[in-house]
Homo-oligomer: 548 residues x 2
């Protein structure tokens, strides 16, 4: 009771001083409930200050913990997980990891990069001494520190300098501009700090695309509704810059033209190609370039439902002198009454989750004016999901304090995220769609095996991707294991869970996804069925849907 | 997809006809997620109609399910539990149990009595034929049916009559007034129905107290705040009728008087007895009766803070001619400046959870005017909790759609409830309180072992009780295993859980309870720490507290 009063007094003082954050001592023993109760009481009365709970980076091997006396295997992630669940995932509660001289197995370390780790406190004991007497780190510690840099986790050096180390290494410090600050230079931990600085300098610079996407990391965006809404010029502008994507389209169109028109008929046969959803024309350009590249003759219809984009499209055709080849149709492809049928239908209607921008419904509508043996580019696409730890995303969703945000899918550049199992295919659509029933409703049951060597894991939701076959062996996609390199048009999609689910090592996570279709909208529902059933999310599309 | 459309059409038709409830077919196989998704969509659009999901009453022994091919042991409670969790514990989704010829082990049957079972459908196959050729039930089936009667579960007889049974047993039907309804009498299932009716007639009638409490079953009440609020006359009236309680008090006072005054000094020594919280005087009467019974001489102070009760108290003293013995003090016992010290302090400040009406704080305040060797009646009391399945209570709490109601304790006559483990002691208070620190803050960690032969169980919250030592071997309490018979002053208390917790057979449930004290209020916090940590409920007493 005395400790509790003291802690509350000290936190009140720190809060009065407007400190950004306070370090809290690590929970002791196996039961942290009373400490958590006390911290939770503090958190609920806190203004802006954050609390960083010290957690030793510790996990004994499963073999070690076979000791019958220890009912609780020592895994400090479990300790943290209990603590934060008792504190109801409070967004002002973060972690300061204490790094010790030995590090847990590599597979279990990844879990921390889905959590809100703010600092890594490296004790001088965790350093080695090199031949010249300077501090350095083991290879495994170096990799860990690189991971911290990559996730913007502050490194704090702590403890007593090891005897015999040179004081204030002037040769290293010479690189810095703080030469005059003798006090700083002479700080006994200066050589450790310099070494950490040196590791930072050694990091590979970020590739250009990653640098461009830096500002989007873990930032939730509502998915586009391109069918209901009209896109803005700026959105077209951004997507048109994705050279890699249009090169893939051009390759696919080339192959389709060559298959459709044998070399000997190239100069006589004219192919009818329709770009459905032409926007401001990038696929029209790719098609014309494919025709030129293959020497095939084309007649193009550019169908677009956004009257504003039509204006730009007209200017483009005039500017480029395409009037003889390209006919602009200002209409929704689902309702256009075409005067002739197409050999090839080209579209770019895919969202981050493949069918989530209603490509299936649009292309089913356009199929009327595709010849029976006609080609659709893309010819098929598949969505994928995988379970992830993503405490930042979970807390951002939670901050809205309503059900709607927990039942919405978000477009997001995933970074502070742990992928807990390989992604698995969910829904596949093929075009043209020859099946007579032709419903675009889908249901998929997925079973993810969580590896047994990583320890327990927290599932905050599911990362979603797509993979598309444009034509034959020309692919396009963002599924991590097969993603098209250097393409930036799509971030992943994120399906949150209202209540995060713990999955224990070696056990399975059973998940269901549904694609439901109503007269005016399409929506997804999702749930966890095992180890512990969740409510079915977004029932009847009550929170999130895409308008037809 | 066809089945889904048909189901939705049939439900829409039933709803149009304003039916009370519809029976839904039992889920098939091991994965019910898609069926649950469909039913959940229907539930969200339903008006008042209920859906009763048929569930076969089935549980194979653990030994049987060792079969490696069956990953899912057949326990239909598990199936129901998954289904209702996917449907988010929807209050319009109930159960119709299909009773088969064989019944699962008795221990696992109890679980159903904490669920919303509305009907039991008994197939004629589950009946036996007696020597006279009439249908009857095995002893185990009879016990089960008695349980259904006891929980107001409708019995439905279904199936084909077994060949050779007498049609419409006129001798049994002679007891009924429906002799003219030949059609009814001749219904081929009439003998089955008559037998069920016969079992109902055979039931023991409810004891008077149970009959009196019938209307309170599973009805949540907010606990009294007798310290902050003044009780109404009707409340006093009700509690004063509890003869058993005052008999126990009188027995305790007798023993205390005899201990305090040896027989030989009975006529010379006058004992100062203070009734703190005298209300309308029942303990004053009990004390005077104890004095008469033991031949001891008493001087009584009746201390009461409710000015309205004081009025009645004055009338009582005048009416009974107690003016020489009884002094009425209109004051809060915590602030009364007593002119002399008491030998015996008698109080009845206990709530359903013992200390929850702030008896410790009141008696600590009154202790100033108790002699150093004085006696407090009660001399100690202990609260108890046990985990329970209580879907009715959970749904009633949930219906308020806010956090506050999930973090409040309720007084309730528990009936449609399954007690999952023996209750365990939580907080104990002893009076007079000699410890120098004297804080009434408490923290208790409890570990409940759920028996391994009952199957998995759902914990919706905790039932709370108290047990008090009035004096030496005179007890009073409502803890089920030691409850004082025929006492009706207290129902149990119920602490809900925001999210129900599943506990698997043979595993442990770790629970924490805190009693927290602030300058103006006292409150409880509670949480589950294992198998899966819950948020800490009622942090800082944000939802529920008792005012000082």
């Amino acid at each position: 009771m005395d400790s509790e009063i003291t802690l509350k007094q000290e936190i009140a003082w720190a809060s009065h001083l407007s400190l950004q954050a306070c370090l809290l001592p690590a929970p002791k023993g196996t039961s942290c409930a009373n400490y958590a109760r006390c911290v939770n009481q503090i958190l609920l009365g806190l203004n802006n200050m954050k609390l960083w709970l010290r957690i030793p980076l510790l996990k004994t091997d499963d073999n070690d913990s076979m000791d019958v006396n220890s009912i609780h295997p020592v895994d400090s992630w479990e300790l943290w997980n209990s603590f934060r669940m008792l504190c109801e995932h409070h967004s002002q509660l973060s972690i300061a990891l204490d790094i010790l001289s030995s590090i847990p197995p590599a597979n279990s370390l990844g879990r921390w990069f889905g959590e809100s780790v703010r600092a890594a406190i490296m004790d001088t004991d965790s350093f080695l001494t090199n031949a010249r007497g300077y501090p350095c780190l083991s290879k495994r510690h170096q990799n860990l520190v690189a991971g911290f840099f990559n996730h913007s986790i502050q490194i704090v050096v702590s403890g007593k300098p090891v005897n015999g180390l040179p004081k204030g290494s002037t040769d290293l410090a010479a690189d810095h501009n703080d030469r005059n600050f003798d006090a700083v230079q002479r700080h006994p931990l200066r050589p450790y700090l310099d070494y950490i600085g040196y590791l930072y300098q050694k990091m590979d610079p970020l590739p250009e695309q990653e640098r461009f996407e830096l500002g989007y990391r873990d930032f939730l965006q509502s998915p586009l509704q391109p069918l209901m809404d009209n896109l803005e010029a700026q959105t077209y502008e951004t997507f048109e810059k994705d050279a890699v994507k249009y090169i893939q389209y051009q390759r696919a169109i080339c192959k389709a033209l060559q298959d459709r028109v044998p070399e000997e008929k190239a100069s006589t046969l004219t192919i009818v190609l329709m770009v459905v959803g032409a926007g401001r024309g990038p696929l029209v350009r790719a098609s014309l370039q494919a025709a030129e590249e293959t020497g095939r003759k084309l007649k193009i219809y550019a169908v677009e439902k956004n009257p504003n984009a039509i204006v730009t499209l007209h200017s483009l055709v005039k500017l480029e002198g395409w009037e003889d080849t390209v006919t602009i149709i200002s209409s929704d492809m689902r309702h256009w009454d075409a005067s002739e049928k197409a050999d090839i239908l080209v579209s770019e209607l895919l969202g981050s989750f493949g069918d989530n921008e209603l490509s299936p419904e649009c292309l089913d509508g356009a199929q009327r004016f595709l010849k029976d043996d006609g080609i659709s580019i893309p010819s098929s696409y598949t969505s994928f999901v995988q379970p992830v730890t993503a405490s930042k995303l979970y807390n951002d969703v939670k901050s809205h304090k309503d059900l709607v945000h927990f039942e919405t899918a978000y477009v997001v550049k995933l970074h502070n995220v742990v992928r807990l199992a390989a992604s698995q295919p969910v829904f596949t659509f093929t075009h043209p769609n020859k099946s007579s029933k032709g419903s675009n409703q889908r249901h998929k049951k997925l079973r993810f095996e969580i590896p047994s060597d990583t320890g327990s894991a927290m599932v905050h939701g599911f990362a979603g991707y797509f993979d598309a076959t444009l034509y034959k062996d020309v692919y396009l996609g963002i599924e991590p294991s097969t993603a098209t390199p250097n393409m930036f048009s799509w971030f992943a999609i994120f399906f949150p869970l209202r209540t995060p689910v713990i999955v224990h090592p070696g056990s399975a996570l059973e998940v269901h996804f549904w694609r439901c279709c109503g007269p005016t909208k399409v929506w997804y529902e999702w749930c966890v069925a095992s180890p512990c059933p969740s409510p079915i999310h977004n029932s009847n599309g009550r929170s999130y849907w895409v308008g037809l």
